[in-house]
Symmetry: C2
Subunit: 476 residues, 2 copies
């Protein structure tokens, strides 16, 4: 027999690209293993995975919210509420009992759309955030925002000409998922000179050229706050985006997983697309994604989130339910995590002071690190960096010398990937080159997270490497 060869596989799968966990991340893992040997011979003593927004990763310092973990522990072994009752705050025990009465065992399947009780809590959270009603029947709990996005894209791509508008730079989940379902990405560029602003006229232009080329636009993806840019959309821009969706009959896919990661909330507040759509009384079909992986919760490992459907008919909702039901249900421990995120301890409850201290600590650490890192990166020759008002990342631009471009070309690499590989080899810091997120022809960037403690040591290593690299290729 011939066996299973790559050329016998689905050709769409071959086209999928996902740089966040690509060549660099794989090499970083290999370095991490090698460092366990005493004679590893590497010029660094730890690997810093700045390639992925993974707040609770070893070596990073965003702690889990204690309340969430105490509830989770009681859900895992309910007997603890008696056996160790003095160890748990009273509101934790009450919450776990309330959830247990509704969900039963965390080892049982739930309703495929998510536990009804938890969906009601999500609806209340959305109502309080936006000031407009939310219907638990229009909310789906998920195995994370990625799972929800993937499901929606699989449903929307109805022909190889069907396209979806994607911001550039983007989180590559979008192009990867589109590639796997043989859909057409329709890129629209964000404006680095206006702090990565989204310009609706640029979206309109992208739509017009896509249509002229025979693509049928089905949906528009907006990531707000942005990934990798951290930009936060203003109300007027959001209104224009909704109007564009009306004009072109597009479904609006709003990736709002960083909605509480705001470093300057007074000048750059988060506004949900749900609120804008309701304010405008717009008929635009909207799917809004949220997650417990980011924010102050940071529970990536639980793989959980939710999406809310607005202006989407019962027949389409029934199809979404059907597709969720083939996958049975989102993991229960993640659903419990969603409940804790949307319904944290209230003032006056025993867990509230610690919850408040922990969330404020996380916000403050991210805010301070982002500011300091942006300032120092901006001072480097051949680098510039928009100071992100949101999310977990910076996306500095590199202005690299011609010799570096030539050396990268000779090595068969994009120059930013070439830069990032040397950064990893020399410092143990793993970042993702801009080519993984998309950028204008001839530009170079990289994305790094602002999650690393010991920021001074970390940024110094970045700076020293950058200066060495610039010298090495004649840029200084």
């Amino acid at each position: 027999m011939r066996g299973l060869t790559v050329d016998a596989l689905n050709p769409s799968i071959l086209k999928v690209q996902y740089a966040v966990r690509g060549e660099l991340a794989i090499k970083a893992e290999a370095y991490r293993e090698r460092l366990k040997q005493p004679d590893h011979g590497l010029p660094f003593d730890k690997v810093i995975s700045s390639n992925i927004g993974n707040p609770q990763q070893k070596g990073l310092d965003q702690p889990p919210i204690t309340f969430n973990r105490q509830v989770a522990a009681l859900m895992e072994w309910p007997a603890l509420a008696e056996l160790a009752k003095d160890v748990f705050p009273k509101d934790v025990i009450a919450r776990a009992k309330e959830l247990h009465a509704e969900t039963g065992s965390v080892g049982a399947y739930s309703h495929s759309q998510g536990v009804p009780f938890i969906r009601k809590d999500v609806a209340k959270f959305i109502e309080e955030r936006d000031g407009y009603p939310a219907d638990p029947n229009h909310i789906f709990l998920t195995a994370g925002a990625s799972a929800g996005v993937s499901l929606l894209i699989s449903m929307l791509i109805n022909s190889p000409k069907a396209g979806i508008l994607i911001p550039i730079p983007q989180y590559p989940l979008y192009t990867a998922t589109l590639a796997s379902y043989s859909g057409v990405p329709i890129p629209y560029h964000l404006d680095e000179f206006s702090e990565w602003a989204t310009a609706p006229p640029d979206i309109d232009k992208a739509l017009q050229s896509a249509v002229a080329e025979g693509t049928v636009p089905k949906a528009l993806v907006v990531i707000n706050p942005g990934n990798p840019t951290g930009a936060v959309l203003d109300e007027l821009t959001m209104e224009h985006i909704v109007r564009l969706c009306e004009q072109y009959n597009l479904v609006l896919l709003a990736d709002e997983v960083y909605q509480i990661n705001l470093h300057r909330p007074t000048t750059h507040p988060f506004i949900s697309f749900k609120k804008i759509v309701r304010q405008l009384k717009s008929p635009v079909p909207l799917v809004s994604f949220h997650s417990i992986s980011k924010g102050v919760t940071g529970e990536c490992g639980r793989a959980a989130g939710d999406f809310e459907c607005t202006n989407i008919g019962e027949d389409v909702l029934a199809l979404i339910y059907k597709m969720m039901s083939v996958g049975l249900c989102p993991p229960l421990s993640g659903q419990i995590g969603v409940d804790c995120m949307v319904r944290p301890p209230k003032p006056g409850e025993e867990s509230h002071p610690l919850w408040e201290k922990e969330t404020e600590g996380t916000h403050e650490a991210l805010r301070a690190r982002t500011k300091l890192m942006a300032e120092r990166l901006n001072k480097l020759p051949g680098a510039s960096c928009v100071d992100s008002p949101g999310a977990l990342y910076l996306y500095p631009r590199l202005h690299l010398p011609k010799k570096a471009l030539e050396a990268a070309h000779a090595a068969g690499k994009e120059v930013d990937a070439f830069y990032a590989m040397q950064l990893l080899d020399e410092t143990g810091i793993c970042v993702v080159p801009g080519s993984g997120f998309g950028q204008k022809e001839g530009e170079s960037h990289y994305r790094l997270t602002c999650l690393c403690p010991g920021v001074d040591e970390y940024v110094s290593a970045l700076e020293n490497f950058h200066l060495r690299f610039m010298k090495r290729y004649g840029g200084l």
Copy 2:
């Protein structure tokens, strides 16, 4: 704008069918809500969800393994190991510390293929089971067997002519997933008169007619022990199946999630396809799926499992890794669950006696219930039932009167769906009609789980309904 209409969606999605959570299950959920009202007016006081193998569901009685839940609780809140150290057995604390040192926080992403340490434990489990080596690099932890199957099918379907052999009756995940990727199901029938045996000559015939019709067979699905049949394959049949895969260059997809659900292990032991492939020194590419949802673990809500690739090249493995990485990683609490499943407490360890008692209790309860239910169903007029040697189900056949067929036809339903709907309406028992699993033209079956406690009351309700139904339509 026109909004989002069903006819604008991916037509493959519309063709997906998944009866296990279909019309009947949705109605059962609605009844469950209605029963909360004092004046519900229903002729039963509880809903019994026999439609799905969900051992830890409320009202069913398969308890979680205490060891697994104690480890999970400590992973959620590691401080408990100090704060409540007298409450936990010593081996539990040691296991949680060992896992924590390897995985870090359960709230962090892991390696996309699963925590390397846990994959090593899975490899050891497979080696001890089969007597052949297993490579942790060829093992992928998953968000459950369904997620793994779906990934493999998405990779194998490379054109609308690509087909996959599916046993009939089957677990409808297979046809649902094939439909969503526009692949061709190639049915092969199991033989009810030989206790649902798999006949390799029938598979060969199915292959020949598929090829004659222009279908390109890519893979063969075997579910062993069977779902819904509970049949357990013998070694000779398995060898024939492997030879067929060699002959037709097929990937063998072995769904082995019920591998320890054996009611008569002496006469009907489980043998893995990995063992057969190695014994035969066969080059057949094999993907073997396992899960923590079934067996004695029964942790459906954790959504976790693993698959092992045998005879699959590094280039294809790299593609599988890439696709897993787009989904980031399997949920950590599920990965922890896999570790506990493949590495239970050993004799001499503090948790072993309780673990043994719990697992034996679960095996014995299932074995006794399956036997009793099959006996009583076999005594009913117009019903016959193969006494399953494995898995969690029975799949009785109904021989229904002509008037029932006419009434079902008039109602626009298959007669087994018609029967199952009346069963639900009159008794609160939810089963899945055979039309959801596939059966020969003109036959009627249903699948029910053997997980329900109070088996006498439950089977009596089934019997009484069946006799009423038969009388109602002139069958008695």
